[in-house]
């Protein structure tokens, strides 16, 4: 089985601060891979570099055999992504959001229409596809984002905390679709989460990152065994310690605050 993602000695510095410090790992094709770590450990920074929107300081990356810094188009065609923050256009309908995505990915009209209908049904939004996204609940938006990420038949699906803030029903639904996809179509899944029970249940393999470094990569059961813990959460704490991480509020957080004030907290 081939490697869908291969990362070697990846480094990202912001001035003096080292967000990602000589990280190496590989993700086998067709597996569900959990990328775990406390806040500010470097998870999102790593995903940004894998998905071509941030240039690494040093190191090499291969995504589906291509280099994200040089072969951006090939890499971008290979993956679909659900971002940590919502990334739909609220002022468009669900269908329009999907259609726009299909056009950006160069899908021909017939295939686009067919897959949009199939996927909105798949995530249970078939009868709401003509509604504006601003009328959707948080869980519905997430499901739509999953559907959109799958529209262009990607080989890899990146999910950055896909279930944050969702109720158990929606979480189960979302993981249900994703496991089904992985089984039936062999899509490789790379995800981050803070819910260790979730990671334990769905991952074939996990890597734990802390302070910008990989501290372990194994199957969930191997990790539990190695740390002699009953649950993955205990194993996680054993590996990363008890200290609570301070994360500086970034521009997005500040702006989201303003957005809440300006728009009466409609977002999310």
């Amino acid at each position: 089985m081939g490697e869908m993602i291969a990362v070697k000695d990846l480094v990202k510095n912001y001035g003096d601060f080292c967000a990602v410090n000589h990280v190496s790992f590989t993700v086998p094709e067709g597996k569900i891979f959990g990328f775990l770590g406390p806040n500010g450990a470097g998870k999102t920074t790593t995903i940004k570099m894998l998905t071509t929107v941030l240039d690494p300081t040093a190191g090499s990356i291969r995504v589906n055999g291509h280099d994200p810094t040089r072969e951006q188009k090939q890499v971008r065609r290979s993956f679909g992504i659900v971002f940590q923050d919502p990334s739909l256009d609220d002022e468009l309908t669900a269908y329009e959001n999907m259609d726009l995505h299909g056009i950006l990915y160069g899908m021909p009209h017939g295939e686009r229409v067919r897959r949009i209908h199939m996927l909105v049904d798949f995530v249970g939004l078939g009868d709401r596809k003509k509604d504006f996204v601003k009328t959707y609940s948080g869980g519905m938006k997430r499901r739509l984002e999953v559907a959109r990420a799958l529209l262009h038949n990607p080989r890899i699906l990146f999910l950055d905390e896909p279930t944050i803030g969702l109720d158990p029903q929606t979480r189960n639904h979302i993981w249900g679709y994703i496991q089904q996809l992985s089984r039936e179509e062999g899509v490789t899944v790379f995800f981050t989460t803070h819910y260790m029970d979730e990671a334990d249940r769905v991952s074939d393999e996990v890597a734990v990152i802390d302070h910008g470094k990989i501290v372990a990569q194994a199957t969930p059961s191997e990790l539990k065994e190695r740390t002699q813990s009953a649950t993955l959460e205990d194993a996680f704490i054993a590996l990363t310690g008890h200290a609570i991480r301070e994360e500086e509020a970034n521009a997005t957080d500040r702006l989201r605050m303003m957005g809440r004030v300006w728009r009466g907290g409609r977002r999310r």
């Binding site: 940004k48 998905t51 071509t52 929107v53 941030l54 240039d55 951006q72 188009k73 971008r76 065609r77 993956f79 992504i81 971002f83 923050d85 919502p86 990334s87 739909l88 256009d89 002022e91 468009l92 329009e96 259609d99 726009l100 995505h101 056009i103 950006l104 990915y105 160069g106 521009a251 997005t252 500040r254 702006l255 989201r256 303003m258 957005g259 977002r267």
Partner: protein, 248 residues
């Protein structure tokens, strides 16, 4: 081409679907038109300038375009932080296509807003010199819109959040408006002010618009067109460059 088209169409859809924004951004131009147009009207006529409303209207239309264009460009900041921009940046299309689609869409929206103000001016008593030159006026409206959307795009690509917004309003957009020929004629201005007005790209937009709507060019239509076109090309290139450098 298709990605450019769909991103442009997105801006138009958003515009058409938010009547609050359309109506809201008409407030300021109407205020200027009524307060200044009628307030200074008699003085302007006594000084031998003719109808001030006819002089002012092209300036107010330009103002509406200027404000909406810069806003459209700066909208990148919103899109960037809350998401939609990311969706376009990870898509297998070149940044140039994305920035062209956005800028073109923003420019058309700003122009549409200018057209609405134009109609309002007619309601308040603005009279066209000749309807034959309306197509020329549309060209100038488009150039003003594209030029300032490009400036907005450049700014929106560099700024991280909206904190700098008052700075842009008070130190860029407002001066661009007041130190143009939108409110007063250029001849007879003190030398320093005249130079400032002459260096302001909006002056050439206003002049082109005033020329084609009221037949009162200060520089001549060709000069206006050439200056605006060259500046627009340069600023579009600068905006595209900054946009292409965005990292998340």
């Amino acid at each position: 081409m298709k990605p450019i088209y769909i991103l442009c169409a997105r801006q138009l859809k958003r515009y058409v679907r938010s009547p609050a924004r359309i109506v809201g951004s008409l407030g300021q131009p109407i205020l200027f038109l009524v307060a200044l147009g009628f307030g200074f009207g008699s003085m302007f006529a006594r000084a031998g300038g003719g109808s001030y409303l006819n002089f002012l209207a092209p300036g107010i239309i330009s103002m509406a375009i200027l404000f909406n264009a810069v806003f459209s460009g700066i909208e990148i900041i919103w899109d960037r932080q809350f998401g939609f921009l990311k969706e376009t940046l990870v898509a297998p299309v070149s940044r140039i296509q994305i920035v062209l689609g956005r800028t073109l869409g923003g420019a058309i929206v700003a122009m549409a807003q200018g057209a609405v103000v134009f109609v309002i001016c007619l309601v308040f008593g603005f009279r066209l010199h000749s309807s034959l030159l309306v197509p020329v006026a549309i060209v100038f409206m488009f150039l003003i819109a594209l030029l300032f959307t490009s400036i907005g795009t450049a700014i929106g690509s560099v700024l991280q959040d909206m904190q700098g917004f008052p700075l842009i309003m008070n130190f860029l957009v407002m001066p661009l408006f007041f130190f143009s020929s939108a409110l007063f004629p250029i001849e007879g201005l003190p030398k320093v002010l005249k130079t400032a007005v002459g260096l302001n790209p909006l002056t050439y937009g206003v002049d082109g618009l005033r020329g084609s709507l009221s037949n009162a060019f200060a520089f001549g239509g060709m000069t206006d067109f050439v200056v605006l076109s060259i500046l627009t090309a340069i600023l579009l290139a600068i905006g595209s460059y900054f946009f292409s450098k965005i990292q998340l």
